[in-house]
Symmetry: none
């Protein structure tokens, strides 16, 4: 199941609104459940380096069906997933990427946000997900 373009646009609009409230300039990416780009939006003063990070955060979140920050906790030196960021043409494993799960518990895509502190990136990603699905479910794995 893939996120629709209508949902992707709604998520981007909600994320933009939150970014403006926070006084930040963001790149926002939406990918479908196949980790393929669905929609992308770069605010005018966002960092050029955030383009790739936003897309990689979204891909990372859908690759493993979990928030990027959660993977980052497991990939520290000595951690069980140390070095996982070398897979899949490069992961980004700090906060700002969140899976999008529909009401039936199906993973339909992900959002990735980059452009400010990881706290702000995460808040903007959450704002985007909140209007089209959820990110936190009790049971993993979700159906894909």
């Amino acid at each position: 199941m893939h996120v629709t373009i209508e949902a992707a646009e709604a998520a981007i609009q909600a994320a933009r609104k939150r970014a403006v409230e926070l006084g930040t300039e963001m790149c926002i990416a939406i990918v479908d459940s196949g980790a393929n780009l669905k929609a992308f939006y770069r605010m005018d003063a966002a960092w050029v380096g955030s383009i790739d990070i936003a897309i990689k955060k979204a891909k990372t979140a859908v690759f493993f069906g979990m928030p990027t920050g959660q993977i980052g906790e497991l990939s520290q030196p000595g951690g069980s997933l140390f070095g996982i960021e070398h897979s899949n043409d490069g992961l980004i494993t700090f906060p700002g990427g969140l899976p999008i799960v529909d009401e039936d518990g199906v993973l339909i895509g992900a959002i990735g946000v980059s452009g400010s502190t990881v706290k702000n990136d995460h808040a903007v990603a959450q704002a985007g997900v909140s209007v089209v699905g959820v990110s936190d479910l009790p049971a993993h794995p979700w159906r894909t």
Copy 2:
């Protein structure tokens, strides 16, 4: 000079409208004058393989300040630019990518469209450019 996100969105909306009129499902990409992604939009039934083609068409058009199809004419076997598509991480040199030039003749970005015949791709790209600038100017090179 870079295309603004406002202009990028207007171009995408105009391109979408034309795509719907033509009964096609498209990927539409906008890049700035540095060939960096500004906005991207994938209609729900567009080919997954068109994501990369739309982005590469937009990049190709801004890389050389000309329509992608024009490069394709020069890069045929025996042509003066045969093999140019091996540069810049891969070019796409058939129609569907157009530069966006502002009223002062400055190249500010490009649009790339993929998802149907090259004729339709080109028509949709033109619809996008027409609301935010022009693609055809008498004198080259444009200022960048």
Copy 3:
């Protein structure tokens, strides 16, 4: 806004002069605000491995509008940006890359230097920036 070739050459000359004073052999790269190479200079006994590092330092500095060393502090194990160097085809996050900001506060490019200690690399980069702009501004983000 992009750094001009005249400014890029002036920055390289100033950086070379400082490198000679320090008795070092450097690679010096200038990129524009789109992270595209503008000018490059390799002194005769500079390390071959420094070519890519100098270019990546310049790109990294313009990608995020900040000195490369600042990103390096945030990307240590346990840091908020751990692993960011896997983005954008590889970042270099130790000192030697500095943004170039014009008198209106616009990020117009960056310089990257590699070939000696990071202290020397940073000093040579600063010498380059000092003749064409500034690197340290009170308020972020700069306009791009």
Copy 4:
């Protein structure tokens, strides 16, 4: 044996002069005999896509010790080197890249030029080579 930075700069200056005479905007790259970048220069209105092409032309010329156009003749469909451009991370096989050979017949580097017609690119590359060496020698292979 490698081209010196002094010679590289002289070649770039001569090439720039010719480019200005021709009314063109060029990217000019110099590589050493190891195909590693020595110096690079992008005129202000040169195409962004020419950066990579100029560098790849210089590398291609030194990879095989011959003008890029000569390789292009051999790599046409049905030719003996058809597809060679897939090697070495991508070759450019149309004119504009020339080896630089010193007075002892040693290949010391190459120049690559991109930004106009292949005829102009080739003329500008020749102007660059002419002040620091030669490109055409009776006997191949040269010593490397």
